[in-house]
Amino acid sequence: MDGVALLTIFILSIFVGFEVVSKVSTVLHTPLMSGANAIHGVVVMGAIIVAGKATNALELSIALVAVLLGAINLVGGFVVTDRMLEMFKPKKPTGKEGGAA
């Protein structure tokens, strides 16, 4: 794709990025940061691409480490975000009545 098209996508993405999080409540700052962190885990795709065309041992080793790190970022990021947000779901009735007698 040519440079100007990429630049256009880049600039528009900046505006979208600003817009989508502009109204977040303080309570969600941490989960949102964690969620964004998970999304940049798609860097693993880049790692797969370079590993797929690596032709010597050095390049391949570096690229495979990148695949490993990227996968940790992607999967770990989504799972830990889910665990944070799990806490926000409405409680089942059992949780509330457990007062000490």
Binding site: M1, I9, F10, S13, V16, G17, F18, V21, V24, S25, T26, V27, L28, H29, T30, P31, L32, M33, G35, A36, N37, A38, I39, H40, G41, V42, V43, V44, M45, G46, A47, I48, I49, A51, G52, A54, E59, L60, L64, V65, V67, L68, L69, G70, A71, I72, N73, L74, V75, G76, F78, V79, V80, R83, L85, M87, F88, K91, G99, A100
Partner: protein, 462 residues
Amino acid sequence: MNEVHTDPIWVQLAYLVAAVLFIIALKSMSSPRTARSGVLIGATGALLATVVLFFSGIELLNLGLILGFLAVGSIIGWVAARRVKMTAMPQLVALFNGVGGGAAALIAVVEYFEVGSSDLLLLIFTVATVIVGSIAFSGSIVTFLKLQELMTTRPVIIPLGKWVTILVAVGTVAAGIGLVVQPQDWLLVLLLVLSLIFGVLFVLPVGGADVPIVISLLNALTGLAVAASGYVLDNVLLLIAGTLVGASGTLLTNLMAKAMGRPLTSTLFGAFSGTTAGSTSAGSDRPVRSASPNDVAIMLGFASKVILVPGYGLAVAQAQSTLRELADLLTEKGIEVDYAIHPVAGRMPGHMNVLLAEANVPYEQLKEMDEINPEFSSTDVVLVVGANDVVNPAARTDKSAPIYGMPILNVDQAQQVVFLKRSMRPGFAGIENEILYDPKTTLLFGDAKDSLTKVVAALKTV
């Protein structure tokens, strides 16, 4: 861009779908009602994109090895995320962010060998990815070490730190320019090393209380590195996803800094100014009033309005449920009980809400700072459990304190204040708290869970 391969239309469309899913995911995660579904939407986008990549017809040598490393990385990430205690979650996020930045830097290193000196713009972006990715990596590792308390949480000021940092920054830029002008392998190694050192120097002078802001910033940086790698690899999805995170992360960093009342510039450029405030630990041997669990139980039992202020110490002691038990007991006695939640209670904005929700504390009892602050003056007893910096009036009065300007919970306006503390050790920001020496303050020393259990037992007999 240096290769002839172009993705088929269906692959490009699939990437477009994934990009839209990421946008919807971020949007959903900004609102409590839809936040959880946002995770699922984002994960779906990532899964779709990764699967499509394998069938997109790109050259994939070493397929077995790639799948193997992908599986191992996924398992490590999954297990780490499932096993981590909620109290340790901020440093895990920092670590995940760091490895993402590291991955981007490594991708660029490999691409550098492929690119050669043919395309100037491509070379510039490759070099930029190496720099930004490495800074995000080493910076995140240092924040991890700080949060895990494997190293001091106080600002680390190295002698001539300002000049060393400037020198390293200049060196990094010079090596980067050198690489673009005259690609040489040793320059690439030098660039890597200098960028990594810069990341460390950048985070070292940051004090404990500002660490969350730095994590958020490094998160945005990783996003930018990923976006740059997208340009290098001519992959539009990486460009979009990285830019989205870079932009939203920058805004989020700003919002967090505002919530904490911290000027962003002083946090970020502490490394260059070398003037990050030290500690004002004067007179730590002054007398304080300490009491027994029984005394505390009596104070609470005869109050008509009690506010609980939970802090990180509560979480460390895993005393959330015991605190809830105490709250239930007081409510049964007809005493009005509320939890006052500071926006940055815990280690990150919103962290305490997560921790208390885990202990089944009803959401409606959690009062945010602005809502609860006017109530302190009509409150009989405030029970501060393992919190310190968020109730420290130095934030209002002491211009030299590192937390000056941060909005705090006005516990000093209540009739009586009870602190459950392990010791007189200052909080995460490393500064003294004047309230501890106030005549209306009572201290109960000990592990928060232990103390709370004793107070609950004593309260039952009152």
